[in-house]
């Protein structure tokens, strides 16, 4: 029962880190100590953090590999931007419109995740990796050839070009193929991003430490044993994967409402992006939510911070990568981290004594 309380405290530390980082950054910005280039990175950074945390549900908690996480971000980004652009004159209260947009991104990405997961997660083996990889590429390409327009008769769709929509003169093109969606209301900002990070953490951390989370991790650790105690494998795999996808959708909403022009390029929604998110998760420690946040921050900001040292930049970047790998993965570093947290929580003695006596008895 001690453990129960401590885990909750552990979660509080994670929330605390995010909030303190936010306050510090806001202060620095108000003092003008942060370059505009860095300021511009803050919203994408929040999106990356949400992506990394959400991917960690699939990779770390469920133990499956997803190589198309950016695809779910893409779904969230486009569906919500579409909604916001259509309703910008109808729902004039910005926070209400944006809240609905977030819910839309969450639901659409979640439903797509569910539909992809349903056939694939029943199979044993790394099929999820293959299918998500394909999905990520397909969704990006679909967005590049999709045209949607609106006039007094309603919506028009085409996969050919804007002319094929056959719009009336008063009509407007909303999704313009490879040019994507332009003129999405810019509702995202750093504060909204941090709030969304906190909500994501709240959902993820609470879910991990619950009956559902336990079932998912039981499946990860041993499918046969999980079945033997009556845990519904497909249901919990789907639950974890859908939530992971849905939260990636939220990251997409944040991302798209920060851009005046949203296009699906290989850089933002393609394979490279999916791999970058996976790198955040792996370097931060698989299954370690706080680690995902920290590695997303370091790896996003570092290239900018090092911009002045053009020659040494890639060298330092590589060294940091290696150092992070060692810090998240070596058993000694894990011990060290656990102890640091334990000391922070004032329960170090209690725990080490327990562990020690147990090893001694056998």
């Amino acid at each position: 029962m001690k453990d129960f309380i401590n885990k909750n405290k552990d979660n509080l530390i994670t929330y605390g880190i995010v909030i303190i980082a936010y306050i510090v950054l806001e202060l620095l910005m108000s003092l003008g100590l942060i370059s505009s280039l860095m300021t511009g990175l803050l919203v994408p950074l929040c999106a990356y953090i949400i992506l990394a945390v959400s991917l960690n549900i699939t990779v770390g908690i469920l133990g499956e590999l997803s190589l198309g996480h950016a695809g779910f971000m893409c779904v969230g980004a486009f569906t919500s931007a579409f909604f916001s652009k259509c309703t910008v004159n109808v729902i004039t209260v910005e926070w209400i419109r944006f809240t609905i947009a977030i819910l839309i991104g969450f639901l659409c990405a979640g439903v797509i995740g569910f539909l992809i997961g349903m056939p694939v997660l029943r199979l044993k083996g790394d099929y999820l990796a293959i299918v998500t990889l394909a999905f990520g590429e397909i969704i990006k390409n679909v967005m590049n050839v999709l045209y949607i327009g609106r006039d007094s008769k309603g919506f028009h769709f085409s996969t050919k070009d804007a002319v094929a929509l056959g719009l009336e003169e008063s009509g407007e093109i909303i999704v313009n193929g490879a040019q994507g969606i332009t003129g999405t209301p810019k509702s995202s900002n750093f504060t909204v991003g941090v709030v969304l990070i906190l909500i994501t953490l709240f959902i993820v951390l609470n879910l991990i430490k619950s009956r559902d989370g336990r079932a998912v991790m039981a499946i990860r650790d041993n499918v046969i044993a999980a079945e033997s105690v009556g845990i519904n494998i497909t249901k919990y795999k789907l639950l974890a994967f859908s939530i992971s996808a849905a939260l990636a959708g939220v990251a997409g909403v944040l991302y798209s409402h920060n851009l005046s022009s949203l296009m699906a390029t290989p850089k933002n929604f393609g394979y490279n992006m999916s791999i970058m998110i996976l790198v955040f998760v792996v370097l931060g420690g698989i299954g370690n939510i706080r680690g995902s946040i920290i590695s997303a921050v370091i790896l996003t900001l570092l290239p900018e911070l090092l911009r002045g040292l053009s020659n040494l930049r890639m060298l330092i970047y590589a060294i940091v990568l290696i150092a992070m790998m060692l810090f998240s993965w070596s058993p000694k570093a894990k011990d060290f981290r656990d102890k640091t947290v334990a000391t922070l929580l004032f329960w170090k003695k209690d725990n080490t004594v327990k562990g020690g006596s147990d090893n001694g008895s056998n």
């Binding site: 044993a225 105690v229 639950l239 327990k354 147990d358």
Partner: protein
Amino acid sequence: MAATNPVLEVTNLSISFGGLRAVDDFSVTINEGELYGLIGPNGAGKTTAFNLLTGVYKPNEGIIRLCGEDITGRSTIDINKAGIARTFQNIRLFKDLSVLDNVKAGLHNIYTYSTMSSILRLPKYYKVEKEMTAKAMELLKVFDLDSSASLKASQLPYGKQRKLEIARALATNPKLLLLDEPAAGMNPNETKELMDTISFIRKEFKMTILLIEHDMKLVSGICERLTVLNFGRILAEGSTSEVLNNPDVITAYLGE
């Protein structure tokens, strides 16, 4: 023994893997509260019989009844819900979960609350989790594991991992408990202690138990009735003393 209710009735159970009849025409009836032994040399088909009973494999022939209900062909999950729990010959714990969480995972279908309750941390979450923890600690105490509750399952010494598996199986509140060589790899002291624990849970939980054991001396101490398997077929069955004096059984074991 007076008119007792059969908990498990198996008739003519068979399965083949390719040409090999791993379990061939296996029948057994186990009564409520009984501790029944299933013995036989390595490769005799004991574990395969467990896999059939728990729905890991579907039998080619035969019927399995649990408390009168036909459960043949059901999924592992449904069979567990119907009331059969098991342990594994090669330990299968949730190795990165705590000892406590391993047992709580076993309580998965006994104590429930919605996903919403857990995400929003509604009062129901705290209430049910508290009950689960209390129940799990109670089970851990039976196996003297309560002091290790917050360790990772993989950090436990081997003997305790075996016990934890039994605790997890019991958590699902089964009518029938299947133990697959629970003493494998234990030293004589640990084995003795484990057999005492098994006798204890049988009395304490009024549990019906089917126990696979490789070593027949060990079984003779605690089981009243036995079935001996050899090459997938029943070689002998009946009361322990009868079976152990059966010349066929002696030959099968000496021949090993």
